[in-house]
Amino acid sequence: MTEILIPGDLIEDKELLKNNRFYISENNKHYCTLVSLYNNRLIPLEGYWYPNIDETVVGIIKEVRNNVFEVDLSHFLRAIIINDFRNKLHFNVGDVIEAKVKAIENKKTIILIYPRLLRDGMLIQTKPVKIPRIIGKNNTMINQISSFTKTSIIVGFNGLIYIKGANSSMAISTILRVEKEAHTKGLTENIKQILQKELELTEK
């Protein structure tokens, strides 16, 4: 059964509370706090990104100091990369990078590691709650967009997506479409057909 829950709705199935950060409990009852899709799991349809360790992010260097790079993830939490003295990193303000979340300190600062410079290409912003759908089960969605449009795509869980390659505008419009239709069924197959059609049109 698929339905959409809104803030204040009772969550009856306790299984749904696993891996779900946003519910509240009162008198042993549990209530939804975000507009969420209920489909065996409870998936928020709106909301912000809450970093988990090892997640990939895409961001931009916004400040360079002696041993710290401040990274703008387009998010309300501060993010930093601590420079390693043995293997000194060189970034300039404005560089686009991908990195992984190493830790979250005091609910306020995200520590990033393994930064890698992303040259040229384009950056788009999507709603972070839609990122799991944009990636798809076992990367199916993003791999298919990438291979059809001959682009390399790096998806940041913070909602920023980096795209580089031949048909990036088609890749972008497809990703934005997935974002818009994220809650619908059979999306991977639908998107595949759309991509096939568009490719036929452009080849003609």
């Binding site: 803030p7 204040g8 507009v35």
Partner: protein, 242 residues
């Protein structure tokens, strides 16, 4: 609440209100969510002749910084009426004393339901613009802002609604329009968290007996079921694919 000598008759011969409504009947209410492209969340409401736009930005950096709270998000709220919103004269733009008070009590409503502790050191900004007014704009503003907050993905304990009750010739009526608001014997806007019927905003002026207060609250809670349903539908309609 003018006790003017030439007070207009607020009930018709058949006992109904001037616009043909029964005492408990709400004006037509329509809410659309996700209407402002730049905002994190938004909603537009037409409630009778009221037209209200609400938008939410944030969580974002607090400006000025010394207002930030390391334990939770601060909520900023702006309620303002457009200078062209009323049928009578052109109004002054910008918040006046009335608007400043309404902004404050509205902010306090949302401080109750928003999980502010999730976003320390940030600000959540709620803007409510009354584009057209016909009585009950603070209630319409709260009802709209609640939808905008949910649309923005701000976690909340509940989806708040608001409506006002009032008294016309010893009858408790709901959802007063401008003329009723101006000449009724009492006006009582109420905001409620429907899950446990917690009352989050309560203002009153005029004159009500204890029994009339009780009856007003019961009627508000009863009408709330209709308002909540329309709020829910607005949030669901965002995901309709055309």
């Amino acid at each position: 609440m003018a006790s003017s000598l030439n007070k207009p008759e607020l009930l018709r011969q058949d006992g109904k209100r001037l616009d043909g409504r029964d005492f408990d009947e709400l004006r037509p209410l329509k809410i659309t969510a996700n209407v402002i492209k730049n905002a994190n969340g938004s909603a537009y409401t037409e409630w009778g002749n009221n037209k209200v736009l609400a938008a939410v930005y944030g969580p974002k950096e607090v400006v000025p910084k010394h207002l930030s709270d390391p334990s939770k998000a601060v909520i900023k709220c702006r309620y303002a009426m457009a200078p062209f919103s009323s049928l009578s004269d052109h109004g002054r733009s910008g918040p006046n004393r009335r608007a400043t008070e309404i902004s404050k009590v509205t902010r306090e409503v949302f401080e109750n339901v928003v999980l502010t502790k999730e976003f320390p050191d940030t600000a959540i900004e709620i803007s409510i613009e009354i584009l057209q007014s016909d009585g009950g704009t603070r209630a319409a503003g709260i009802t709209t802002a609640a939808v905008a907050l949910a649309n923005a993905g701000i976690p909340m304990k509940d989806l708040v609604y608001a409506v006002s009750a009032g008294k016309i010739k010893d009858n408790i009526v709901l959802d007063l329009n401008m003329i009723e608001d101006n000449y009724s014997d009492a006006d009582m806007p109420v905001a409620i968290a429907p899950r446990n019927n917690n009352i989050l905003l309560l203002q009153m002026d005029g004159g009500l007996t204890k029994a009339q207060i009780n009856s007003s609250l019961d009627k508000v809670i009863n009408a709330g079921k209709i308002i909540s349903k329309i709020q829910r539908q607005a949030l669901l309609d965002v995901y309709k694919i055309d």
